[in-house]
């Protein structure tokens, strides 16, 4: 109890000292004319401490701050409960379990569970992110690219070339992948998939190439050095991290911001505030107008919905992404050989597999279709593949 109070005091006084050096505590030029107390926050913005029972325009019940330490709701979690949810992996390896796997093993898991969204060798597809675009060390050098004109190359921001920490990948795969079945991979499977992705990014650990047979385990994982580890600002790591953040955002020029004199607002630019070179730029080639539903200001009775279900359209919207092309791991529409095996087991088996999901396919392909409509789509796909 004492510690928290002390902590608040420490943190507030740090702010006070720092703000003297950077930007003095200012009285707000509030449109309400009432002086509002503010202090500079870690984000470069202002916060509004409670002064005389008020924070900004809000009244505050100050009894709460006094009584809060006497509130003892809830209970202490059990060790098992803590372990069940404490699945995060920190950059220093805290939380990373033992286990091992190879890129070769990862390749099989990837083909079964990942390729339908992330494409061959992590090349991306279907709107899902790419995991690799080639050699991480070479691609990291593209981060200074700016695509100012359509024919210029932009920066490549994939795991190998951009991410600062490998721990993020392990943690994210374990907790949040595969997208329709999160939390379903074993630790060894995650090690294998990480090895596969390191391999696809042509990465090395301790100078050794992560080839098909490289055994990735906890010890070797902790030796991974990401090419773009120091590509980020401000430096958030170590005991100075929070103060680095505070200093960085205290200077708006670090992030393209502009300032004016709060005490003399009339001094802000009111005439000739644009570059003389500035021109009116219009939307090119129609821009983005893929809006659903289409924009409308009409105030009318809604149209009666056509209840006639169109299986072909539903297929295109929900299934074609994986079933429409080779190499996605799903039986391709019109491929009689692939579908013969499914048809031979009976339609009800095909319905059930599709409704509940099978291999890399999420339940109903991730669609919102009702069971009936989904079965119509299966019928349509079978009819096109006989």
């Amino acid at each position: 109890m004492f510690k928290i109070n002390k902590k608040i005091v420490v943190s507030v006084s740090t702010v006070a000292v720092l703000s003297l050096g950077l930007s003095a505590c200012m009285e707000n030029v509030s449109p309400t004319k009432s002086p509002v107390q503010t202090k500079k926050g870690i984000d470069g913005g202002l916060s509004y401490p409670v002064i005389n029972g008020k924070t900004s325009l809000y009244d505050v019940n100050e009894q709460v701050a006094k009584d809060a330490k006497k509130i003892h709701y809830g209970r202490v979690p059990t060790a098992a409960e803590y372990a069940a949810w404490n699945t995060d992996i920190m950059p220093d390896g805290t939380g990373l379990p033992e286990g091992e796997g190879t890129a070769d093993e990862g390749s099989d898991i990837y083909d079964a569970k990942c390729v339908m969204c992330h494409g061959d060798f992590g090349s991306g597809g279907g709107g899902y992110p790419a995991l690799s675009k080639g050699n991480a060390y070479e691609l990291q050098k593209t981060l200074t690219n700016q695509r100012l004109k359509p024919d210029e190359d932009g920066p490549v921001r994939v795991f190998g070339s951009y991410w600062p920490q490998a721990s993020t990948l392990w943690w994210y795969i374990k907790d949040a992948m595969p997208h329709p079945f999160t939390g379903s991979l074993t630790d060894n499977q995650v090690y294998s998939l990480v090895a596969f992705i390191l391999n696809a990014n042509e990465m090395k650990i301790d100078g050794v190439e992560v080839d098909d047979d490289y055994i990735l385990n906890r010890a070797s994982f902790l030796k991974i050095k990401m090419p773009n580890r120091y590509g980020f600002e401000p430096d958030i790591y170590g005991p100075k991290g929070p103060e680095n953040v505070r200093k960085y955002y205290a200077d708006p020029h670090n992030f393209g911001g502009q300032t004016y004199n709060v005490k003399k607002p009339a001094s802000r630019c009111m005439t000739n505030c644009q570059e003389p070179t500035a021109k009116v730029v219009y939307i090119q080639n129609g821009g983005i107008s893929d809006f659903h539903p289409p924009l409308s200001q009409v105030r009318s009775l809604p149209k009666v919905k056509n209840t006639g279900f169109n299986a072909e359209k539903a297929y295109t919207a929900n299934c074609a992404m994986c079933h429409g092309a080779e190499g996605m791991g799903a039986p391709v529409l019109g491929n009689k050989a692939e579908w013969a095996a499914i048809i031979s087991k009976g339609k009800s088996k095909a319905y059930s597999n599709g409704i509940h999901g099978i291999n890399g396919m999420p339940p109903k392909g991730g669609s919102d279709l009702s069971d009936n409509d989904f079965e119509s789509v299966v019928d349509y796909m079978i009819s096109k593949s006989k």
Binding site: N5, S23, Y73, G74, W85, Q146, V262, V281, G366
Partner: protein, 465 residues
Amino acid sequence: MINNLIKEKIVDIKKSQQDLDSFDTKSISNSRRDFLAKTAALSATALAGTSLLASEKGDPVILEPTIWGTKWGNPVTENLYGMPSKYEHNVIRRYSKLLSSGNYRASIAVTPIQDLSGIITPNGLFFSRCHGGVAQIDPNEHRLMITGLVDKPLVLTMKQLKRYPSVTRTHFIECPANGGQEWRGPQYNSLQFAKGFMSCAQWTGVYIKDILADLGLKPDATWMLAEGGDSSHMGRTIPIDKVLDDAMIVWGQNGEALRPEQGYPIRLLVPGWEGNLCVKWLRRLDFANGPWACKEETAKYTVLKPTGKAIQHFYANEVNSTVTSPCPEIDWTDLKDGDIVEIEGLAWSGMGTITGVDLSYDGGKNYVEAKLKGLILPKCWTRWSYMHTYKEGQELLLTSRARDDDGNIQPTIDQEELVVGVEAVYHRNAVETWKVEKDGKVTHVEVRSQLDRKGKGPLFIEGKV
């Protein structure tokens, strides 16, 4: 360096406002003459002693009885949870395939701010962003666990959480990718898509500091992880300063429970900061002495500059504004020459309280001061407006520019991009421009210079080394 590029000129604001007013006055007197000329014939036959028009005809919706004016309405037993009028069915969130991964489970649906009034977004229209679909959580089976560098770790049921003393605050939440598709030029001829990755609501919940008071935060607890209980288990790292300042766990939104799209039963609220930090379906807070490097604070939500360095942990949404009326969706094609019309807009800043908004008729070259309206609260949408006299056939470039009590003012596109380039994706807050065409239609444009670069050097304005 950027400051030197544009030489700020101190001017008499009142004078530039007078210039505009005197222009308006001329067009008012012209249009008044037009109106009198047009209605002269009818006025001549006006009934003696009244100013009504002499005719037995008129608008049938006035002259004829209506169904709703003569028959019973619905009993109160219908719609026990109220719904908007069926005539408002076009006032909805909208989505785009380009803003989605695959099947709309990692996606966004954006708010129709063109159709909103005031500073509160109705719960059904609040923008919706998720990474693993909109989780439908049973509150009876949801817990909040607080662990890590605290003397007493804690697990709470939702009922226990709501026993804590509550705080109610009105704040916007903005996705930092709002406007993020338009770094190289305008893309959306739509206010909903150009600026609708944000909404504003009155939130009710508990300050995290009021929960921590009993738990004994250890002195080396410098960072907090907030993690969701949905299938994406999205997490973000928050510095302890914000946690102990105004970070909240909220369960109430505009007087009712959060909607599932907003993280029912509970979400984190870090006022003014990136919407992504306001973790939905919140189930775990963990305290440590270092940051976590979550996927959404490394792979995404980082701002890559031309130097090749990316800004990380970019928390606050900077000062920003937009004209909401007119806009591409609600244009001025129905206005007559000389009509007096209110130009209205929104301003907001995650760094403080809006102190003023300027309006430009020429795309941000010259400005007049607009008026703020209604409640002016920190880290909250603020309404502003300016009265205008519509002149038929006149093209306008309407640009708004907001400023806040922290000393921030919106940059021009050139000012912002010379520092952060065009690959930033996030945190775009340069001024925005609508062009009012001669026929009153409104289109989205940008007023900007062509940027250039030598090798990997800094960006500069083309032809101006």
